[in-house]
Symmetry: C2
Subunit: 242 residues, 2 copies
DNA sequence: CGCTGGATTGACTCGGATCAAGTCGAGTGG
DNA sequence: CCACTCGACTTGATCCGAGTCAATCCAGCG
């Protein structure tokens, strides 16, 4: 008995049988959610914690001029708003990118889980810290990398994160996310994203079609991206290019 | 008896006398550090937690091509690496921007502080969460704002954060940070930063000279920046432009 | 008093946005 | 089965914001 949350957290620290069972129980009542649905809206008071079990979602904010900026992708196993619940209100929204299965865990239940299971507490803290490190990595990307390197960096990150939680079969992953959404996460236009992607395709580094990303040359991709995987704080097997 | 750390944390939650005393004791042994000194280096194993009491520092990373990106500013009261200590190694460095007074608190002491004083635990968590929210705000800035808005946004953020911790006398703050450093935090060149700053000066919105930032027209600055202060998760008195 | 690093200004270049047509594929309905 | 529609994606032409290169100014300091 397992699920994607257990698989992700197990990567951070060893979980006892009781802890795995508790996590599975907590995520038992999951709901199907349609694509493009706001799970949480900016300004909301903190409610339950949402865990994505299948499908993808993203954090975003719409600016006054109508532009959208995406700040994080939530892949299966990721949580929407763990500790943010301590704050008064959400400063951003979370939306599904495709049809998704999402579990809602009441805040009280999370508090109890953390109090009773040190392994879960530790794993959630580590997950939170790597999320924060990922935000810093994105800032670096947007500030100092060319759009080519940015696109390569994003695809590289998503692939390695997927590998770390068993979401990849080895050479790619399901990525049911439109180029428009990917572009909005990199601060560029969909038009230019498409052009840059073609360069990567022409260089035989990756292919991205109909919701599926395939890595043809990981070493080349890492090289183009200038990818330094230390911010993931996990060792990715086989990602040294060998 | 108080200091800048106490002043900052008191803004998040009420601290008992005992908690204030404990914080002051923990930050008692502070050291003067010269400008441009790495307090923590990328790759370091986690050591003590550093608290900036006077002066400024910043988180940064140098890329392969030699470019530097700054990801956060630490003003008096801010901590360098609270929970990052759980991780294996630092994924970025922290450097002083000017001469600074910094306290080093052994990790064990922090653990004890948090265990014994719920108020401190709560305040540190909230500080951590707003740091994370600030990272997201920076991503939005870099992705979707013009350089003019970016510069305005940064100055606005720094001013409001300073106000929230009593670092501002009302219309400005000590900002002993070169334009080069500010530019590296916004992903732009010092040359262009200087030009943009001149526009803000010409518009009589701010002045920035010799380590001192003065806000001439906060409402105008907020307007240019498109500043949405909800990510600070604190109410800034008088910052509604009135 | 000259050195040094930050700040400013000008001239030129270029990466990526913008505007504008398409093309392609998945549904949908007749 | 085909026509129609709608969104995502692609490609081309043009424009502009910001980078680059370079000269100069200025203040602090040994």
């Amino acid at each position: 008995m397992t699920n994607q949350l257990v698989r992700k957290l197990s990567g951070f620290t060893d979980l006892s049988e009781a802890e795995v069972a508790a996590l599975c129980h907590a995520t038992g009542r999951a709901r199907e959610i349609r694509a493009r649905h706001d799970i949480i809206r900016e300004g909301d008071k903190p409610g339950p914690v949402f865990v994505v079990l299948e499908g993808w979602a993203f954090r975003y904010k719409i600016l006054a001029d109508g532009n959208r900026q995406i700040m994080a992708f939530l892949m299966p196993g990721d949580c929407s708003n763990l500790n943010i619940g301590m704050l008064d209100e959400m400063d951003h929204s979370v939306q599904t990118a495709c049809r998704a299965r999402v579990a809602a865990i009441p805040r009280a239940e999370i508090t109890a889980l953390v109090a009773d299971h040190p392994g879960i507490a530790r794993a959630l803290s580590l997950a939170q810290l790597t999320d924060e490190a990922t935000l810093r990595a994105w800032i670096i990307c947007m500030g100092r990398r060319s759009t080519l390197a940015r696109v390569a960096h994003l695809l590289c990150e998503l692939y390695l994160r997927a590998r770390l939680t068993g979401l990849s079969d080895g050479h790619g992953l399901e990525l049911p996310v439109s180029q428009i959404v990917l572009a909005d996460s990199l601060g560029m236009t969909p038009v230019h994203f498409s052009r840059v992607l073609r360069k990567l395709r022409d260089a035989k580094v990756v292919t991205l079609t109909r919701g599926s990303l395939t890595i043809l040359d990981l070493e080349g991709l890492i090289d183009i991206a200038g990818f330094d995987q230390n911010y993931l704080h996990r060792v990715v097997p086989g990602s040294d290019g060998s």
